[in-house]
Symmetry: C2
Subunit: 196 residues, 2 copies
């Protein structure tokens, strides 16, 4: 079956997530994922290099959402303000309807250390790309790296909170809340350490 | 050879790093590492689950250095001040004499995406343990997570800087410098975003 398959990557992703969640990640093969939606293993490997990548497909779109936010920040915005714009833009990728899907994905990742490593690395990659975008706006090296890393941290914490059972707030609200808490915490330390 | 081998893990680590750096990580097997210092593959696997773990051996000691710093922070220290103590304590593990070894290790990791993932995950693990230690001191959930993640970020940036060719400053000085820059950056945003 080498013809074009409309929506094949999305169907494979959905099927993979269901199989990973019900049978377990280790116990599911690429062939089984493909067969469960009437596709061949060959079609699977046309879209994904291995079964792990099914869980991380779409990272470009994810990073792109942050970059769009960087572009919308007004000229003269400080590095952290630019990051605040990036966080708000990224949150739009995760409307509340997507929460059940994201929760299932998270539960699969939590069961497997190699997937957790891949997920940590995804946030590290986000931070690196965000830092490049800040530097491209003229932010200096260290400030760009720190602001970008802090943005990835805030996103990671807000996203974990967003996935919690019973959480109702939007990811945008949670991101803003976590960022505000970071600013409060650092302000406290700045006062105590007497940094001008 | 099943007798006790004094200093075997250290000898294996040193040999592995040399082989990884000269021949390449992929091209080096556990057996070759062991043989290069007159040990058997069996001895190798007594200490390390695979060749990758040779590069990450000692993570307990690494995390422990941060925890010792948390314990030395005075009562009433704010979360970021506690993290500042943890960073100073961790820096003592990396005296300048260790810089060449750390540079070689870094160059091996940079050549292999799976090793980079493992390294990202190591910092994520550090942040999680540090957050637990802050919570144990009574810091609330979100503040503990944020301060711990910020500490891991500051460490990661300072460490990368410390490894750069020509860098002369100590890791302690670099950590303090990066933390100060974070506080400056966030203070700027706090003022601009008008957060009380």
């Amino acid at each position: 079956m080498s013809r074009w398959e409309p929506g094949a990557p999305e169907r494979l992703q959905k099927a993979a997530l269901e199989l990973f969640a019900t049978r377990g990640y280790e116990q599911t093969t690429a062939t089984e994922i493909a067969q469960s939606v009437g596709l061949t293993e060959r079609t699977f490997f046309r879209y994904f290099s291995d079964k792990r990548e099914v869980l991380f497909h779409g990272q470009d779109v994810f990073v792109q959402a942050f970059l769009v936010g960087v572009d919308t920040a007004p000229p003269g915005a400080s590095p952290i303000e630019i990051v605040a714009c990036a966080l708000q833009s990224a949150a739009s990728l995760f409307p509340n309807e997507r929460r059940p899907h994201s929760r299932t994905r998270q539960s699969v990742i939590e069961q497997n250390p190699a997937l957790q490593e891949r997920e940590s690395h995804k946030l590290a990659g986000l931070a690196a790309t965000l830092a490049d975008a800040l530097r491209a706006r003229g932010v200096d090296e260290l400030a760009a790296t720190l602001a970008a890393e802090s943005g990835a941290t805030v996103f990671g914490i807000a996203f974990t909170q967003w996935l919690r059972e019973g959480e109702q707030r939007s990811l945008a609200d949670l991101s803003a809340h976590v960022l505000r808490e970071l600013l409060t915490l650092t302000a406290e330390a700045t006062a105590a350490l007497d940094i001008p």
